[in-house]
């Protein structure tokens, strides 16, 4: 972390002045493409806008709400016509859309799980690195040794990475591959007695809302904690979750854009993980399962659900 901060500071010192002077010279146009304007996407947009409001830079923001565009194909024509300098995409739909059609304009993505790589594209992903997650898990459940995970063929790759991270952190990963969504209860039943914590991975093949419900009910019944995918899972019955801060993600993307506009090469800017992480805890569930979360962790948490 300290390293990261220092790095940013050096970058700012190096390019701040030139960027500032350049920005003063002419007005920049930023096009934002988002699938719809509500919830986390809107939060990210707000953070992005907030970032620019704090800069002494003359910019023009063009919003393209795909849900409101009658013909989304024409959006890029318009972006080109309006002489857009840079494009911000929010969410995977907008990102994949932009990555496919936009070639000459640099694209910065946000709110996507798996970073897209290319010469003229970079951004901020939602994905929190497994090592960070394991660190948190160890703090919350110091005695946890065996981590259970269910995956599908779609997420096989991720499991490999995760199992590597676990091994590194001296944790045993018990992973079961689920062939069909129907089989989820069977597999869950199979691993649940062996695990100290269930690790949810974002896999839409497995985690239908019904499956999540089943999982959370089973967790309470069989007393194993679940690490949820986000705060809403904690509210529904997961013990904790680690989320990127959506507003901060917007600001983070704004920072990237500022750097690109200041003259940095897109290809030299790799996609970034979320710089700010929110920890959510459910103490009611902890009590139900019979887990005592260390007081230090509770203090550190962004929000705790209590009785």
């Amino acid at each position: 972390m300290n390293y990261l901060k220092r790095y940013f500071l050096v970058l700012l010192l190096l390019f701040g002045l030139t960027a500032f002077l350049w920005a003063k010279q002419r007005e920049m146009t930023i096009s934002v493409i988002l699938p719809y304007k509500s919830g986390p996407y809107n939060l990210a947009l707000e953070g992005f806008k907030k970032f620019w409001a704090e800069q002494e830079v003359n910019i023009r923001l063009l919003e393209h709400n795909l849900a409101k565009e009658p013909m989304p194909e024409l959006v890029f024509k318009e972006i080109e016509d309006k002489k857009t300098d840079i494009v911000l995409t929010i969410g995977s739909k907008a990102t994949h859309f932009a990555n496919k059609d936009i070639k000459n304009i640099p694209v910065v993505f946000s709110m996507i799980l798996t970073p897209v790589t290319g010469t003229n594209i970079t951004g901020v992903s939602l994905n929190i690195p497994s090592s960070i997650k394991i660190n948190y898990l160890k703090k919350i459940l110091p005695n946890a040794k065996r981590i259970g995970v269910l995956y599908s063929s779609k997420t096989e790759e991720k499991i490999k990475e995760l199992s590597f991270a676990c091994a590194k952190m001296k944790l045993q990963l018990i992973a079961e591959k689920v062939e069909s969504a129907k089989d989820f209860p069977t597999h869950l039943k199979k691993i649940s007695p062996q695990i100290d914590c269930f690790w949810m991975i974002p896999d839409s093949e497995i985690f239908s809302p019904q499956a999540v419900k089943h999982l959370l009910i089973e967790s309470i019944r069989n007393k194993f904690p679940v690490m949820g995918l986000s705060y809403s899972y904690v509210k529904a019955g997961a013990l904790f979750s680690l989320d990127g801060d959506y507003e901060d993600l917007g600001e983070q993307a704004g920072m990237l854009i500022l750097r690109i506009l200041s003259g940095e090469k897109v290809s030299r800017l790799p996609p970034e993980p979320p710089r700010k992480i929110n920890l959510f805890l459910n103490q009611i569930v902890a009590e139900k399962i019979g887990i005592e979360i260390p007081a230090k962790v509770i203090q550190e948490a962004t929000s705790v659900i209590k009785k």
């Binding site: 919830g39 986390p40 996407y41 996507i112 974002p202 239908s208 419900k213 089943h214 986000s230």
Partner: protein, 644 residues
């Protein structure tokens, strides 16, 4: 069918309450039933919905174990008897029955089990919890069968409760309303009706007392007021009627009195007219008779004794004239042409004399009773006249009773007031002496009563009565300012009431007997024989005054009878010559037969020279010519008695 007001009201109230309550009861039962049913249905539906929702994932994953657990759990719920869960193909995933298997559910609800599948465009949407679309898919069916037993039971209970309430709401208000009605309306009405009936029957003393101030009370008060008014006007009417009646009786009484007074006036008028006429005639007649008698006497004295037949004719003329003169005398008495000396006298004394006289002369079977007032007031009259008046009435009474009966004579002091005026035209208020003479004789009819006091009115056969007796009495009483009332009933008897004004003066002490000629006194017993009671009574009075004892006989037969018994005691017989029945001559002969030495004095109205001699020859000791003075009588009696 006649219904009284209570029955009608009870009927109406019952009908109204019954129909209202009936309707309400029906409505409530229906409503409750529906509500219960809706409640049940809603419960079952929500349970079914819940089951469908909860079994979504297990149907999707065909988790029979979990499904069976859900199904069994549900059958523990009330009313639910059957639960089944099937997949989309229709094959049974779970089934549960409550209690004994085979119990068919009454009704069943089935729900689709829906699966909502989000369409994630990317796995990050799992984190952001923002699926763009939900895909809805039917994946199976759940059905819940339930029994209506408890619903029916509850409905029945509700019905029962409502029915009981109904019964209460019908009976209680009916009782309360009816009893209140009865108290407040019907009882007062009954009272009023009863009172009205009483009033209709004429009882006006009815009052209705209601202790309420409502319309009934007002009605009762008005009724009472009405009855009171009615009573008042009825009383007024009654009073008027009574007044009218008294007026009517007064009027009719007045009318009767008027009529009577009129009759009496007419009668009095008639009597006075007759009196004037009779008096006039009598006066003239008396003079004429005097002339006839005088001339007959002259003729007789001039006629030689040899002319025997002429003497006889003259005697007849003299007898008839004398007779006629007696009649005229009576007529004059009626007409009150005579003047008497008026003395203060005691009526009782007169009556005693009359009774004494009568006791010797009336039939033995006729009893005589007297009730004489001891302190009878005196009257101012002539004793001889009063004697005459009473005697005439007594004679009539005796004659009315033939052989048997009772004669009552009574005297009384009496005060007449105004009201007494009605009884007689001459009646006036004041103190009177009343002499009452009643007999138990044949009585009189209306016609006789009407003419009673008229001179010459008689019912007796010609020659027997003159019809002057009562007219004389009338004249005498009237001359003393008195009057006579008569009451008579045919075949029962007659009652005469003589009223003579009472005098305040006291009876004068009897004047000492005049220094009598002692030579005229005697102690011998004398029998007086005369059919005329007046003569008998007069003779007796005089003779007794001079010391003689007097025996009376009303006719010849009687005289003979008495003499037979007391011939030794009787010293002298004074014999009337002209008598009905035995004549003086016959009587004399009979007496002579008993005692040839008998001393008889003949009294005759005429101077019968030839007869006189004849009689004297036959044994008569003397002869008295009527009318004779008492002096002559006494002298003659003394002469005969001393002649031995």
């Amino acid at each position: 069918m006649k219904l009284n007001i209570t029955t009608k009201i009870v009927f109406i109230i019952f009908i109204v309450i019954f129909s209202f309550s009936g309707f309400l009861g029906w409505y409530f039962i229906r409503h409750e039933r529906n509500a219960l049913r809706v409640e049940l249905d809603e419960r079952i539906i929500s349970l079914t919905n819940g089951l469908a929702y909860n079994s979504e994932y297990y149907v999707l994953t065909e988790n029979k174990e979990e499904l069976a657990r859900l199904a069994n759990k549900l059958t523990e719920e009330k009313d639910i008897v059957y639960v089944s869960i099937r997949n989309q193909e229709g094959s049974l995933l779970a089934e549960a029955l409550k209690g004994k298997a085979g119990k068919e559910p009454d009704e069943k609800f089935t729900r689709k089990v829906l699966n909502y599948q989000p369409e994630y465009k990317g796995d990050e949407e799992l984190i952001l919890a923002s699926p763009q679309q939900l895909r809805k898919k039917v994946i199976g069916h759940v059905s819940i069968g339930f029994s209506l037993a408890s619903f029916k039971k509850k409905t029945l209970e509700v019905k029962k409760t409502i029915l009981w309430l109904l019964v209460l709401t019908i009976i209680l208000p009916t009782i309360i309303i009816v009893s209140l009605m009865n108290r407040w309306i019907i009882a007062p009405i009954k009272k009023l009706v009863l009172a009205t009936k009483k009033v209709a029957q004429g009882d006006l003393d009815v009052t209705v007392s209601l202790r309420t101030k409502d319309e009934m009370g007002i009605l009762a008060d008005s009724f009472n007021e009405m009855v009171h008014q009615l009573q008042k006007s009825y009383q007024a009417l009654q009073e008027t009627r009574n007044n009218l009646e008294t007026r009517a009786t007064e009027l009719s009484k007045a009318y009767e009195k008027l009529k009577e007074t009129q009759t009496q006036l007419i009668q009095a008028d008639k009597m006075s007219a007759i009196g004037t006429l009779a008096g006039g005639i009598a006066h003239d007649f008396n003079n004429l008779l005097f002339v006839i008698l005088g001339n007959a006497s002259l003729l007789k004295s001039d006629l030689p004794a040899s002319e025997k037949s002429q003497h006889n004719l003259l005697d007849n003329i003299a007898i008839s004239a004398t007779y006629g003169s007696e009649l005229t005398k009576n007529l004059l008495a009626f007409a009150r042409r005579e003047k008497y000396t008026l003395d203060i006298m005691d009526v009782n004394q007169v009556i005693k004399e009359i009774v004494n006289l009568l006791s010797h002369t009336v039939e033995k079977m006729i009893s005589i009773e007297t009730h004489l007032a001891p302190a009878l007031a005196t009257v101012k009259a002539n004793a001889a006249q009063i004697h005459q008046a009473i005697l005439n009435i007594c004679i009539n009474a005796k004659e009315a009773m033939a052989r048997k009966g009772k004669l009552t004579i009574e005297t009384k002091n009496i005060t007449l007031d105004e009201s007494y005026k009605n009884t007689h035209i001459d009646a006036r208020p004041g103190e009177f002496v009343m002499i009452l003479i009643s007999d138990t004789g044949i009585g009189m009819d209306e016609k006789t009563l009407h003419h009673l006091f008229e001179p010459f009115f008689t019912t007796k056969e010609t020659g027997k009565g003159t019809g002057l007796g009562l007219s004389v009495s009338y004249g005498i009483v009237k001359s003393f300012k008195g009057f006579i009332n008569v009451y008579s009933e045919k075949n029962k008897g007659t009652c005469f009431k003589i009223y003579i004004p009472a005098s305040k003066e006291k009876l004068k002490p009897k004047p000492a007997v005049k220094k009598q000629d002692l030579s005229l006194e005697g102690t011998e017993t004398i029998m007086l024989v005369d059919d005329n009671l007046n003569i008998l009574s007069m003779g007796k009075t005089f003779l007794e005054r001079y010391g003689y004892r007097v025996i009376l006989a009303a006719n010849g037969e009687k005289a003979a009878e008495i003499y037979q018994q007391k011939k030794d005691a009787i010293d002298l017989v004074i014999l009337d010559f002209i008598m009905p029945g035995w004549s003086g001559q016959e009587t004399l002969e009979e007496l002579k037969k008993i005692d040839p030495e008998i001393k008889v004095l003949i009294a005759s109205g005429y101077s019968l020279d030839s007869q006189e001699k004849d009689l004297l020859q036959k044994g008569a000791k003397g002869f008295l010519l009527k009318p004779f003075s008492m002096q002559v009588l006494l002298e003659t009696v003394k002469k005969i008695l001393t002649k031995t």
